[in-house]
């Protein structure tokens, strides 16, 4: 049983039980990190401070426990930083079934880069559960293993490390954003950062955006990841090189490798931001694995050609499933002119005073030939049909496309095409000069 709880800690757990989730504790230096848990949260043990908890195992454990619980979970990460405060500590809390202190025993104290004079290696762990009436508190010395079974865990961690809060937040923000992308079922994650600086209190809040994409629970991690990334691409299409304030506040979404302990086969897909610039190529490689997804990092020295080849296969599959969403640069360029063309032809049709001509056009387009057939209707009908043809022909080689029919039958010798005449060297050769007059 906990003996050294402060009153604020008691309030924490009472608030956790009620469902609130923010704990504020001041620190003398830097920051504190709390994983505060909503009532159904299983666990979230995470502290990326100073590289100590910046290890995927902790996150993995936290997410794992959430998934095992098979109920709705919330993982809240609250970072608080004050310049002048009480002696610093970190609190990491979790509740849930199946938590085990054995997991903490596996943590390697050597991972900690905090110097021993600033951290004693002690973790204060408090456990509770949704059906629990008691709150259990333990002190875990990472150097000594403790085995226990409990329904929930809170880990408190304090440090006097004087790292730069900005560096830490620069890490944790994109990290949490990547978790968002996973769309882990039944786990909602949010990140709150409060810290004082010269201009006053700064507050940032990052939470999962809701959308209509619901992934079935039965999906494996890799399938879930693949679909989540597909969903992201489909939302952003050809603007992947642009910042999306909705999804990412930084341009860190470049190329990711999802590494795992074992990998048996690869599922990959790749998309182009549309600019044609290879620096903006967004390549996502998902390795289908037998073991659980462990970590993800930005691509470093992977074989670029292999990745390109592999993701192209997946991209072709994606293009086949979602025709028209991933067009080549050439087709995009052509497509830009289609609205003007369709509007021109629709205007031409409607400017005629020949009702037979109107009805014949309407009949060809499959429209009702009456007064309701407006220029907008005809315009959009023609536009859709032209766009469809562009999409169907996208990616096909010239030979596959075949030659389009001519507007009129031409009896003469047919040449390929004449580029836009830019030079006037023809003028002298019996061109005798292009008349400059209108």
């Amino acid at each position: 049983m906990a003996t050294d709880f402060s009153s604020s800690t008691r309030r924490l757990f009472r608030s956790v039980r009620r469902g609130n989730f923010r704990l504020r504790i001041g620190f003398r230096v830097s920051f504190s990190v709390f994983l505060v848990l909503h009532r159904n949260i299983i666990c979230g043990i995470f502290c990326p401070i100073l590289g100590f908890f910046c290890r995927p195992q902790l996150i993995y454990l936290a997410v794992q426990r959430c998934r095992i619980a098979e109920t709705l979970c919330r993982l809240s990460i609250s970072i608080r930083c004050f310049r002048v405060s009480n002696p610093p500590f970190m609190r990491i809390s979790n509740t849930g079934v199946g938590s085990s202190l054995v997991e903490f025993q596996d943590l390697d104290p050597g991972m900690c880069s905090v110097s021993s004079d600033k951290w004693d290696g002690m973790l204060s762990i408090t456990t509770t559960g949704i059906r629990d009436k008691d709150i259990h508190n333990y002190h875990l010395n990472l150097r000594e293993a403790l085995a226990s079974k409990s329904s929930g865990t809170e880990v408190c961690f304090s440090t006097a490390e004087e790292d730069n809060i900005d560096d830490f937040m620069a890490w944790v923000f994109p990290f949490v954003q990547k978790i968002f992308l996973l769309k882990t079922p039944n786990l909602a994650v949010d990140l709150t950062v409060e810290h004082t600086e010269n201009l006053g209190l700064r507050y940032s809040h990052l939470h999962q955006e809701t959308d209509d994409i619901y992934l079935p629970l039965s999906l494996s991690n890799n399938e879930r990841l693949l679909l989540s990334l597909q969903s992201y691409i489909l939302r952003h299409r050809n603007a992947l090189d642009k910042e999306c304030q909705l999804c990412f506040t930084s341009r860190s979404f470049k190329v990711w490798n999802w590494g795992c302990k074992q990998h048996s086969k690869c599922q990959r897909f790749w998309t182009d931001s549309g600019s044609g610039n290879s620096d903006n190529i967004c390549a996502i490689t998902v390795l289908s694995v037998e073991t659980e997804l462990c970590y993800f990092t930005e691509r470093t020295s992977a074989d670029r050609n292999l990745i390109k080849k592999a993701v192209k296969i997946a991209l072709d599959d994606l293009k086949a499933k979602y025709a028209g969403l991933l067009l080549s640069f050439r087709s995009v360029k052509i497509r830009n002119h289609i609205p003007d063309l369709s509007r021109t032809i629709a205007g031409l049709i409607l400017s005629s005073n020949d009702p037979e001509f109107h009805s014949e056009c309407a009949s060809l387009l499959g429209l009702q030939s009456n007064d309701a057939c407006t220029e907008e209707t005809v315009d959009s009908c023609i536009r859709e049909k032209i766009i469809r043809i562009i999409e169907l022909n996208d990616g096909k080689k010239k030979m596959e496309r075949g030659s389009a029919p001519c507007l009129f039958e031409c009896e003469g010798h047919l040449k390929e095409h004449c580029p836009e005449e830019k030079d006037d060297s023809e003028e002298g050769k019996l061109g005798f000069g292009t008349p400059a007059q209108p």
Binding site: I386, E420, K429, T434
Partner: protein, 432 residues
């Protein structure tokens, strides 16, 4: 069957037709056109008709088959062609194997052109043949030009439906407002208009586009516009009678003249100088100018005058430079860029001056150096092998000397020298 005829020298008149022959070989050559026969024989000598291969190839009969022409059509027929174009497009768009139709356009390039010599007249003209290139929406670099053709076609359709005429300048401003990203310059509009002409095979005027003319005419001619008062072109101001851009009006003019010559003047200043001096009363002539490169309306009127008065000799007074010769050749042969219709208005124009022979009366100090683009024009003119030898020689001399001379250079001999110079050359028939 050979018909009998009579004549002397190298000219024989057969059945009222004038035929040039050249006695060359002992082989008979019979030319049998579709609707008449030409054959020459003689009782006493073997007179053979041999036609040069070039002449044979470029004879009227052959040229007519190869010639591709833009028709002069009434508005209803042009509208019908445009409607067919739209229907064909929609049919291909909604077919079981849907496609976006390509636009087949007659190529207006040198390699699709030729020079036809009139067998029965002295007029030679440039023509375009049937070589076609396509504009396609499926080619990313061609898509804009493709859409431009449709935009101009739609604009012309509207003009025709409203029964109006618009100039290319008006067209430019309208298109600039509707689609500024497609039409940035007058040149792009003009090219797109020529594309529509090449697509629909009808004249620009048939599309409802009026040539805005810069031309003027003065001299011994009386014009009668239907329903309007009569204009005596010898009694009007120095600016002359402004030639309208409406070819329909020009075609309805009734012309009366006692002039012997038509003189094409390159520059407006010279035109006005001669008009002021009433030069057309010293030598009975008509003066005509388009103030630079000829527009279709000026050429049309010139052609009408020459058709109405076939015995009038057409002379040209240009600066001695490649541009001047290019202008002359446009009046004489037409042009490739408007080759589908300009062949109709080719005239037998002769080069009066300035020529190399005249340089001896022009002081060296008034000669100016040829600019690089002028040398380029000269060289590409020279490479047109269809240009006659004497013109080629003049061009070579221009390039060789690297100088050019303007007509105004003659003023160093006095302001009235110009009239005397022209009169002397005409009397001496010093033109090529």
């Amino acid at each position: 069957m050979p018909k009998s005829g009579s004549g002397s020298g190298s000219i024989l008149r057969v059945g009222g037709w004038k035929i040039r022959i050249r006695v060359d070989s002992s082989d008979w050559v019979f030319v049998s056109p579709t609707h008449y026969k030409i054959g020459i024989c003689s009782d006493t000598t073997n007179v053979c008709v041999a036609m040069e291969p070039d002449l044979l190839k470029s004879s009227l009969f052959h040229a007519d088959q190869r010639l591709c022409s833009a028709e002069i059509l009434p508005p209803s027929q042009v509208r019908a062609r445009i409607e067919v174009a739209v229907l064909n497009f929609l049919k291909n768009l909604t077919a079981s194997n849907p496609a976006i139709s390509n636009l087949p356009l007659i190529s207006r390039k040198y390699d699709n052109s030729g020079l036809r010599h009139g067998l029965l007249s002295d007029v030679s003209s440039v023509f375009l043949s049937h070589s076609v290139f396509t504009r396609s929406l499926m080619r990313a670099n061609d898509a804009k030009a493709f859409v431009r053709v449709w935009m101009v076609m739609a604009m012309c359709f509207r003009i025709l439906v409203q029964g109006k005429l618009a100039t290319q300048r008006e067209l430019f401003y309208k298109l600039l407002c509707d689609a500024p990203e497609y039409f940035r310059s007058q040149r792009q509009v003009n090219r797109a208009v020529q594309d529509v002409v090449a697509l629909l095979r009808c004249t620009r005027h048939s599309l409802g586009i009026m040539a805005s003319s810069r031309g003027a005419v003065i001299g011994r001619m009386v014009l009668e516009e239907p329903g309007e008062q009569i204009v005596d072109c010898s009694m009007i101001g120095h600016a002359g009678y402004a030639i309208t851009g409406d070819l329909c009006t020009l075609s309805k003019l009734v012309l009366h003249s006692d002039a012997r010559y038509i003189i094409i003047i390159e520059k407006d200043a010279i035109f006005q100088r001669l008009a002021e001096d009433h030069f057309f009363n010293q030598i009975p002539c008509i003066l005509i100018t388009s103030k630079g490169y000829p527009d279709i309306a000026t050429r049309f009127l010139l052609h009408r005058i020459s058709q109405t008065f076939p015995d009038m000799t057409i002379l040209a007074l240009m600066d001695w430079n490649p541009a001047g010769l290019a202008i002359l050749c446009t009046y004489k042969f037409g042009s490739i860029t408007t080759g589908l219709e300009s062949y109709r208005y080719a005239c037998n124009v002769k080069w009066l001056g300035l020529r190399a022979d005249d340089l001896q009366i022009i002081p060296q100090q008034v000669m100016m150096q040829l600019k690089p683009h002028e040398i380029k024009t000269a060289k590409s003119l020279m490479s047109s092998k269809l240009l006659q030898e004497r013109y080629q020689a003049e061009l070579s001399l221009m390039v060789e000397r690297g100088h050019r001379a303007e007509i105004e250079a003659l003023y160093c001999h006095g302001f009235d020298f110009l009239g005397k110079y022209i009169a002397k050359k005409i009397v001496q028939a010093d033109y090529i």
